[in-house]
């Protein structure tokens, strides 16, 4: 005797039958499974949300950057129009920004070829800067702190720079002394310490982001690494 012949003949008798499409089957509640699913969703969401926020803030790179070659500037960071990410980054680091009436800071974390800057390498920074009354070039580590160098100074200023006849300049950034314009790098740095070049243009007409479009910035060339 087959299974089908035992079924009642009226139309709604196979309500719980497996042959019905899933969406028409009645819901059998399973509180434990539901609770586990909701907990998993909440925990996973909290993990993803918090870690993604941490990663973005920890990178210390505000989002609305103006990029010229390897250089990044954040003209709006530290003002009332800043985006929430740069507000979080700047207040967390208690950074006092260079205000627009004072100047503009440009940061390079990579060389012109796109490689991460390494304090054990030798770099050539050459070209010209946007017009400014004064500018300084400083080498800091990957977290923005100054480092100890052989001669004790960590920066170069525009008024003590040797230039070519056409106004361009060439700077060698290295740990060991070099002839010409030498920007000393950290004396006892390891490759993992990171390196940033900070170019601060003081009293420059390009302090607003829009004016930064067509200006030329120095290139950063890696000359060699140990």
């Amino acid at each position: 005797m087959s299974d089908a012949s035992l079924r009642p003949v009226h139309g709604e008798a196979d309500w719980y039958d497996d042959r019905l499409p899933r969406v028409l089957r009645s819901y059998r509640s399973n509180p434990l499974r539901t609770l586990a699913a909701v907990t998993l969703v909440v925990v996973l969401a909290a993990l993803i949300g918090i870690s993604s926020a941490y990663l973005i803030i920890e990178r210390e790179q505000p989002l609305d950057a103006v990029t010229i070659g390897p250089w990044h500037a954040y003209p709006k960071a530290g003002t009332a129009e800043a985006d929430p990410y740069s507000v979080a980054i700047y207040t967390r680091g208690a950074v006092i920004p260079l205000a627009s009436g004072e100047g503009l800071a440009l940061v390079a974390r990579e060389d012109s070829a796109g490689h991460k800057l390494d304090p054990t390498c030798i770099y050539r920074i050459a070209g010209q800067t946007p017009s400014a009354r004064l500018w300084t070039l400083t080498a800091v580590d990957g977290r923005g702190h100054l480092t100890r160098t052989l001669p004790g100074r960590v920066n170069l200023a525009s008024n003590t720079l040797l230039r070519r006849a056409d106004g361009t300049f060439e700077i060698t950034a290295a740990r060991q002394p070099h002839s010409g314009n030498w920007l000393p790098l950290a004396a006892d740095a390891k490759a993992g310490d990171g390196l940033r070049f900070v170019l601060r243009l003081y009293d420059a007409p390009v302090t607003t982001g829009a004016a930064l479009g067509g200006v030329s910035m120095p290139i950063i060339d890696r000359q060699g690494c140990p």
Binding site: V41, A45, S52, A53, I96, S100, R133
Partner: protein, 186 residues
Amino acid sequence: MTLSPRFSLTVGLLATACLAAIIHILVVLSIPRNVQHSAFDNVAAYGPDRRFNLLPDVRPGEEALPDLDPAMKHSTCRFQLADGPVLFDASIPVPFWSIGLFNSAGEAVYSLNNRTAGAERLSMLVLTTRQLAILRENPPENLENLIVIETENPMSGFALLRAYVPHPSKADAIDRALKAASCTGI
């Protein structure tokens, strides 16, 4: 109604993504309110309010505040406009100096340098609209020569004065000028 496993998974992933986005936004927005040391707090460590306090020179390992230029000397003054207007006065013999006004959240409110100041001497008055109205009734003689900065609300904030050191031999003279700079009431 029973959902297919694939549909449940999709709903679960969507819920996770939406919730993660909400948590991400909440975390980012809550950071400014939960920092332990704002720039406004850090500045207070270098001396009393309502006077310029010279910051130590920016050297490796002993940076007074983060992200300052080692080629400059800095002086800060914290003030609360609720205590009355603030008059900044300084005469610094260097080729470049600049001053930035920041509110307690660390946002730049106003800034100028020695070229945009129009004079070698910095004399700048910061006050609220109401204080200016009161001052106008009995104006001091030099009000015309001051750079007057008016704010809507009685803000708390600080000023950071930067002076470029062209040569180490000038450091002492710049120190003296920065110490003589005043940040007081009228």
